[in-house]
């Protein structure tokens, strides 16, 4: 397998450490005039999202991780298993609820997503930054209450609860930011 020498180290490199894929998110080069070079790295685990601080010395190397980013679409969910399809070669992938994490809240059938494959298997799935979801159920808001600082939870078509302004009603379609989980705006009334 290909490997990177310290001289190749830079932000954005995808490497394998202890049999897990990492993304190099920071790299600082430190070198005393008469001593060995240090490469101080911050590496994000691409599966768990945790960050590892590691200092490498000149001459060390890291194995390249076979990581690929692809476009795919969400097909359907069967209890705790989520099925996706690669838009290029139509391969199908199964992901567990653990792997999907909180993103289940935004997954609608046919939705285009972004997936990271490691050795050909998906490790993370990211939905678009903004998704539009229909409101299936909510308590009615007080008439004329158009202020955005009064909020209430609503249940959307995926089964998730989103905090919305009080004026949102059943049947409305809302836009949600999947990175924060926040309501953005009302897209349509019906």
């Amino acid at each position: 397998m290909a490997s990177y020498k310290t001289n190749d180290f830079r932000k954005g490199l995808r490497v394998e450490i202890d049999n897990e894929p990492y993304l190099m998110i920071e790299m600082n080069f430190v070198k005393p005039g008469k001593g060995n070079a240090l490469y101080k790295c911050k590496l994000r685990n691409l599966i768990r999202g945790t960050v590892l601080d590691r200092t490498y010395k000149g001459g060390d190397s890291l194995e390249a991780a076979d990581v690929e980013e692809i476009d795919c679409q969400f097909l359907y969910r069967q209890t705790d298993t989520f099925y996706f399809m690669n838009n290029t070669d139509f391969d199908q992938y199964e992901l567990s609820a653990d792997q999907v994490g909180d993103y289940w809240k935004y997954l609608k059938e046919g939705m285009k997503c972004h997936a990271v494959l490691w050795n050909g298997n998906p490790i993370t799935i990211t939905p678009p930054n903004h998704v539009e979801l229909a409101v299936e159920f909510c308590e009615p808001g007080a008439k004329g209450d158009t202020a955005t600082n009064v909020t209430k939870p609503v249940k959307v078509e995926t089964g998730a609860e989103i905090i919305c302004p009080a004026f949102i009603e059943m049947g409305n379609v809302i836009k949600v930011d999947t990175r924060t989980g926040d309501y953005v705006e009302r897209v349509s009334l019906k």
């Binding site: 080069f29 070198k31 008469k34 490498y56 001459g59």
Partner: protein, 425 residues
Amino acid sequence: MAYLIITNGLDQGRLFRLSAGQNILGHDEHGQLQVSLEAIGRQHARLLVSNGHVVIEELSNSDDTYVNGALVQQPFHLHHGDQIQIAEMELRFYSAMQTSVSQANTNCLEDFASTATVATLRERSNLLRRLRQFFYDAGFDEVETPTLSADTVVDRYLHPIQVEIGGKPYWLQTSPEFGMKRLLASGMKSIFQVGRAYRDEEQGPLHNLEFTMVEWYRVGDTTQQAMQFLGELITELLAFESFEQITYQQAFQKLLDFDPLEISDQDLMHVIAALDMRMSPTWQSLARTDWLDLLLTEFIQPQLGLQKPCILYEYPASQSALARIHPDNPLVAERFELYVHGIELANGYHELLDANELYERNLKTNALRQSDNRPVLPVDSYLAKAMKHGLPDCCGVALGFDRLAMIALNKNSITEVLPFPFPRA
């Protein structure tokens, strides 16, 4: 289409196209406008584009976003040519892409330009003039020796760039040391040089592959005299009142509470294990001297020269490089380094004169280089001949001029004091 161009620092010349809707600027990799500067928050500012209007808004609450010098306290409507400053990053806003700029060219727009501002380059020139004057006033002659030579310094951790000329290997010099010592052996007494040095694989905020080194030698100087001269030079150029000196041993005792010269290997390992250093596992195979060096870099150096310039002296004999061993204490070498604001600025020696010892050190170093899978460097040299002929007793010091300029001009990276750092060379 509207766009922003970074006009200073690390990302200078980078262009961001603003797309309709929300554009988040920050060092968050999911943001549309991702910058490398750490001082910029993950989501620092937002640019909203609609109907040809662009509005900037600060998201970080750090109150450091300015347009044309005025703090952005509420969403601000940008106009063509507006100057934006966010923390230390400067950008310029263009409301429409100039038609003469082809699509392919826009990514490298402005990368012909100097990364240092014109004002900085003029201040750098002034600093260089003052530095030269200091040497002239002290009776030094300025010399110039080849930067491309058949000789090269043999050091485990310096990687000279090899060039082949007429089938013969030459090296771009990692310092002018060899040439200057040949001049001493040829009869010169007090010499200095401002020249370029090259070290492969060295690139970062404090390193550039090609850099400016000031190196000087004075025949007859003791280590104390050489340190005094260095201290006077630096206090003069950086406008300090005074400088301090501390031995390598005292620094370790004071800051890490152990004696680096006497500690056993086993106790040293315990000290290191107790410090959470997050080192890659390959470190365990290293030698004592590398561990000491690592502790110096990580824990001692950042504390040196914070109030005034600090000269650290009497390095362990194992880190002597081309310094002579102290005649009264075989554990230490007559080597010293200057630190200002925790940054290594200069390195000096009471020079090794013994050609046989140089030969032996070179052999040992080459063996270590081989174990590191690095090419072996020539052990014989014009310098070895000069030393056999007779190198006069002398001290020599090398100082990194780019770092000096960086500190003098209050910059955070040498790219801010260099016109064309290596990626743009």
